[in-house]
Amino acid sequence: MRHLRSRAVAVVAPLGALALLLAACSSSGSPSTTSGAAAATDATTCSPASLSGSAPVTINFWESMPRANGQTLQTLTDAFNGSQSKVHVNLVVQTNYNDTWQKYQAGLTNGQLPDVVQLQDTDTQGAIDTQSMQPAQNCIAGFHYSVGDLLPRALAYWNVGNVQEAMPFAVSGPVLYYNKLAFQKAGLDPNTPPATLTQLVADAQKLKAAGQGIMGLKLDPWYLETELATANELFVNNANGRTSRASKAVFDTATGTQVFSDLNQMVSTGAAGTNSVAGADSYDNLLGVGSGKYAMTIDTSAALGTVEQLLSQYPNVQLGVAPLPTVQTTPSGGVQPGGSALWVVKKSTPAKQSAAWQYITFLDSTSSQATWSAGTGYIPLRTSAAESATIQNLWATSPQFKVAYTQLTTGVETPASAGAVLGPFDDVRTAIVNAENSMFARGVAPATALTRAQAASDALITAYNRRIGG
């Protein structure tokens, strides 16, 4: 549920900086261990052998799911706890991704850490930089686990420097939600939603002219990132931070400018209204579809279940779900994944780490992923889960649930479509939102706004890298 992300950065920043500093200090004594080099020893830490003792192990799992999804997670966890007596998982509900991350960073200073933690996509580099995580790669090796069936792009997002750092779990993608009835009344074909940004702009203007509502635009940096991925272009250098740590932003390209111009054109002509991406306002774009204010909006597929449930109660809405409109007519890249992954915490005992891994593989198993996806709207992360009867039945009756899966499994697998990893991701996203705001509110030219956002991002990345490297 990445749309629930709020910006508590001001408070988090000093704490995070301190935590990272402490992490850096505490490791400075030991020889610098890259994850790859440590694999040989850590593979034995996270292995069935570590768990072969007789005593049962209890592990704490910090999860960040909203309530309805949390209930599905609880059901799965109960099933896991009931299926064997060796490992007991204690599900600890945190309030949201930001608080979990903040609490985790605070835990680095006082040792109050979980054994498994669910962190959102943007915290990936930050989590690696705490040097407190056991790379999933080591557990994969220790348990001889096969990842062949898991969706490549979902794995790729959490694969940094050829090391699988964490296991994808709650993964979603941006999709276009639109009101078929509004399309009809505006003389548009309700079964041909816009496939490109250019068409999106044109349709939004037609809808506005027909008085059928406009495009509900979130002030979301995600558009730029994802559109670049669909065009197979990088967001930051060093292969999106995957071959080595990103040192520069590279999104100021013709494609980036095109995305900004299209968004700006919709807003400046009144064909799109803007909504905050944080807090309670972040629902306004979806609620606006119900009230008739908006005819289209782009939001995460993770909300699909509840969006449908809510909007089906409005007689003026017939909900359509379509893939994200892309900047190119034939996308040369692919939509990057969004969402969260499960991390094994290295500070725990080998037995707990191994127990954590058993639990994670249970959650990523075929049947769990089928239950999870059907219960929440997240993308089933296994081909076998997608082929299961549960999911096939769901897709047969509600094809809109398949949109995000199809989107994530089409296109090319490159560092561009895998998405970017960088330390100050939240701050960089804020810089992009600021640039969007400067276009929409103050009339700054799209090209200028984008150039400024890139300069600001470069400064943020440089500052972060200096802090980590020092």
Partner: protein, 301 residues
């Protein structure tokens, strides 16, 4: 002059049944007009302030399908009380409210006791480095809590207080602000009073209890309400210092969990918010008089 001017214009046609001479004299009419104006302004202010709260209550009682309705419903004609039950049970608000009540009352009591004692010392006693110490107390006001949070967390954890009520409350038992506020209040007490009490054989504690405290009651109430609000609304510290169960988590964390909900449960999160704000409103209403008196005491003098 204004009075005659007001009286001068020809009297408006007298409405039948209302005798002319019974109209209020100009002075009183003037005063009444000002009173009306004042109440109009106050009403506008009250509506502006209460409207969001009212809408929270309204929306908490709406079915999810009505929330996005245009125009928005201003009255819940079919109140769905189920959202309150759901917030209470699903949100575990009972235990969260209990925890908040304990945490808040300990902090308020602690701050009142420590501030009274410290302020008394600064106001009535002579001891070396008094000024310097007082400045040190004041300096603590300049340090935002966020700066000390990491070290406080380490301290509390090493004391074994992680996920306990002491961990939740002890860092807040003393306050530089409270000490400052009460010292200023104590300084208003005439020195003669202290000397007279001494002649009567009052010790420090007796003087404090029977003379000084009753005299500064408005300031105490203000401090009490102030620390109540601060403690009740704490978020970051309770989030960081509470652990893997609900045993000491406070209501603000419970609310955040409830708010981090999904689109079809906005009424439930609003119901939870309304429940959590009730204790605050009760405190404000009960202590309103003292609060206003202490806020205006300086201005009136």
């Amino acid at each position: 002059m204004p009075a005659t001017e007001l009286a001068a214009p020809p009297a408006p046609p007298v409405v039948a049944g209302v005798p002319g001479p019974a109209a209020p004299p100009p002075r009183r009419r003037h005063r009444r007009a000002r009173l009306v104006l004042r109440y109009v302004l106050l009403s506008v202010g009250a509506v502006a302030i209460l409207f969001p709260l009212y809408m929270a209550v309204v929306n908490s009682l709406l079915a999810p399908s009505q929330i996005a309705h245009q125009p928005p419903p201003f009255f819940p004609f079919h109140p769905q009380w189920g959202s309150y039950r759901k917030a209470w049970t699903d949100g575990d608000l009972g235990i969260y409210l209990r925890n908040s009540a304990i945490q808040t009352s300990v902090i308020v009591a602690g701050q009142l006791v420590t501030s009274i004692l410290a302020a008394y010392a600064f106001a009535f006693l002579e001891f070396p480095l008094k000024r310097t110490l007082f400045i040190v107390f004041l300096m603590t006001l300049m340090i935002p809590f966020e700066v000390t949070i990491a070290t406080n967390l380490a301290t509390v954890s090493s004391l074994g207080w992680f996920n306990t009520f002491p961990g939740l409350t002890v860092p807040f038992l003393a306050t530089g602000f409270g000490t400052f506020l009460l010292r200023q209040a104590f300084l208003q007490i005439p020195r003669d009073l202290r000397e007279a009490a001494q002649l009567d054989g009052y010790g420090h504690l007796r003087f404090l209890w029977s003379v000084a405290i009753p005299l500064v009651r408005p300031a105490l109430a203000a401090l009490g309400v102030f620390s109540f609000l601060g403690a009740w609304n704490q978020y970051l510290w309770p989030l960081l210092v509470t652990g893997n169960d609900n045993s000491v988590r406070t209501v603000q964390i419970g609310l955040k969990q409830l708010i981090n909900t999904q689109l079809d449960q906005i009424n439930v999160s609003l119901a939870g918010t309304v429940i959590a704000v009730v204790p605050l409103l009760v405190i404000l209403v009960v202590f309103q008089k003292q609060l206003v008196r202490s806020l205006t005491s300086g201005a009136v003098k």
